[in-house]
């Protein structure tokens, strides 16, 4: 037991926690013809102890990728190594565990029974009390799972994930469906758990969660990695605002040129009489739109996740990212 701990530790120094190379996953199309490409060639390497966010919209391929990493579904092609072994081997050894977005709980089982049942399968009976306490379930232990709120059920899933004392913790949209307070509580608990040097990989479509919790963010869309960089850089990019206004008929082109000359304006667009300026200089652009350019119906907005993607991929730094990938490929 002691020896395996030691060798595990040495292995951590040399072996990445997670290595995913050219991962692809195709499902048969719903109509029976063609295939749906859920994961379209993902490459990611995560070192031990890193905290990484997989950020992307629904249907981007995040969950499928994590399912493959956990050995729940086989990939169509590509390599996945978890601490140097196959996903299933890593799961069986208790090295990797997860809070699943759609991971089911048995509604007619009590909270403590659920923890004890899964603990028994891990051979981790001695950790039951500690895990119940750390996940804040002590008060709920005797309650039926079906009577617990969404947030409470999520804490139970989290408790189950802690049972094998995993080196890698995977969280698939762990706060989906939670209110703001429950979300904050959840991440506070998570922060405490990562002090132990765990590798944490979580999927989210909340930019704020990636910013608050992960030093590194992998942007995934249409089954591909769109960007993989420190989250700080991402924040700078999405610090942009968009100022949009309607100008007098026929002056849109001239207005766009004027806006483009303003410092801090990175991009301008004109659609009909509607002109927009994107960048950190959105305040100056807004002022100009309302005064010298004679605009009205001014609107200032933060860019959506989609436009953040666009900003990142259009910056030309991320080779191989193409904008014309379609999700469904008929063959």
């Amino acid at each position: 037991m002691v020896e395996s701990r030691v060798s595990g530790h040495i292995r951590d120094m040399t072996t990445p926690a997670l290595r995913v190379a050219d991962l692809r996953k195709e499902y048969p199309g719903r109509s029976g013809h063609g295939t749906v490409v859920a994961v379209d060639g993902i490459d990611v390497e995560i070192a031990a102890g890193e905290i990484v966010a997989f950020l992307g919209p629904n249907g981007a391929g995040k969950t499928t990728t994590l399912d493959i990493v956990l050995g729940l579904v086989p990939p169509t092609s590509g390599t996945v190594e978890v601490l140097g072994v196959t996903p299933r081997q890593a799961v069986t050894a208790g090295h990797v565990s997860a809070v699943l977005q759609t991971g089911g709980l048995l509604r007619d089982l009590r909270v403590d029974e659920t923890v004890r049942a899964i603990a028994a399968l891990h051979g981790a009976r001695s950790r039951v009390d500690e895990v119940i306490r750390r996940a804040g379930l002590t008060e709920l232990a005797g309650r039926k799972v079906g009577h617990c709120s969404g947030g409470e059920q999520q804490r139970l899933r989290f408790a189950l994930a802690l049972l094998p004392d995993p080196q890698i913790l995977v969280l698939d949209e762990p706060t989906a469906g939670m209110d703001a307070a429950a979300r904050r509580d959840f991440w506070e608990t998570m922060r405490a758990e990562t002090h132990e040097g765990r590798t944490v990989v979580f999927a989210t479509h909340y930019l704020e969660e990636a910013q608050a919790f992960a030093p590194r963010t992998v942007l995934i869309d249409h089954g591909k990695v769109r960007a993989d960089r420190p989250t700080d850089e991402l924040r700078n990019l999405v610090g942009d605002r968009v100022a949009t206004a309607t100008v007098a008929p026929g002056t849109a082109r001239a207005a766009a040129e004027a806006l483009a000359a303003i410092p801090g304006v990175r991009e301008v667009h004109a659609h009909g009489d509607r002109v927009s300026a994107t960048g950190t200089g959105s305040d100056a652009a807004a002022l100009a739109l309302l005064t010298t350019l004679g605009g009205r119906d001014l609107e200032v907005s933060a860019p959506s996740l989609e436009s953040a993607f666009f900003a990142l991929t259009a910056s030309g730094e991320d080779a191989g990212a193409t904008a014309d990938t379609t999700k469904e490929t008929r063959r």
Partner: protein, 253 residues
């Protein structure tokens, strides 16, 4: 196989009062109804009387219903994503199936015992106590294949109503299994290939040794090897389907 997991799952099943009443109560009622339709029921048939024959049929049905429904519930567990949770533990699909079979066998034991108790109280009779013992053991233990049946059917239809589909299918199989009305002719020939037939005829072996009576008084003879082959063959088919179904249950729904 994990004893703690098994105990927790069993406790959970026994808390489901409605299901237990259905599994244990209905076959008893059916025994009392069918058992009283054949005259006094005390006529000798093989090494036991007619009431013993009807009792055996209903015990087989009770055990099959018990294993089918508890295994069908297992399939619903998988549909609700519990299979994904289990997929994050060292438990293998075959262990999960094995655990479910054991849990359903405990429930089936309750069903068989209840029907036998009703039989004892209403005049079912066999020439020897060993006939009672072997009949009970066979009716109970061989019902394990219907756990696999319930799992396979429910997981194939993949909805909450699938337990109902499996139970309804079981009624049809019980008809072909010669449990409700004595079969004869072509139907009997076809019935010999159906999954409840081998099981039921094996449960009657201690009292009838393969003799089959039809409604017009003819007597046919079943070969023991054929009955065993029927049971083993269906066990293999349902078993393979179940393991395949559990693997499928690890995916998202």
């Amino acid at each position: 196989m994990n004893a703690t997991y098994l105990a927790i799952d069993l406790k959970r099943q026994l808390r489901d009062v409605m299901n237990i009443a259905f599994v244990v109560g209905l076959p008893v009622v059916m025994y009392i109804v069918f058992g009283s339709t054949f005259g006094s029921g005390d006529e000798q048939q093989g090494a036991a009387n007619v009431k013993f024959y009807v009792m055996t049929s209903m015990a087989v049905y009770a055990a099959a219903v018990a294993t089918t429904s508890s295994a069908g519930q297992a399939a619903i567990e998988l549909l609700q994503g519990w299979g994904r949770q289990i997929g994050l533990t060292p438990m293998r699909p075959a262990d999960y199936v094995g655990t479910k079979v054991l849990v359903s066998l405990v429930v089936a034991a309750g069903g068989v015992a209840a029907v036998f108790l009703a039989g004892v109280c209403t005049g079912a009779r066999a020439d020897s106590w060993t006939t009672w013992l072997y009949t009970g053991l066979i009716a109970w233990l061989l019902s394990a294949i219907f756990a696999l049946y319930g799992l396979a059917i429910a997981q194939t239809f993949r909805s909450e109503s699938s337990v109902g589909i499996a139970s309804a299918g079981l009624v049809l199989l019980a008809f072909f299994g010669n449990l409700f009305v004595p079969l004869g002719g072509t139907i009997l020939t076809i019935a010999r290939f159906t999954p409840l037939y081998g099981f039921a005829a094996l449960a009657r072996w201690p009292s009838l040794e393969g003799k089959v009576f039809d409604t017009s008084g003819n007597v046919f003879q079943d070969e023991l090897w054929w009955l065993i082959l029927n049971w083993v063959g269906w066990a293999a088919i349902f078993g393979l389907l179940s393991v395949w179904a559990v693997r499928r249950g690890r995916r998202r729904q």
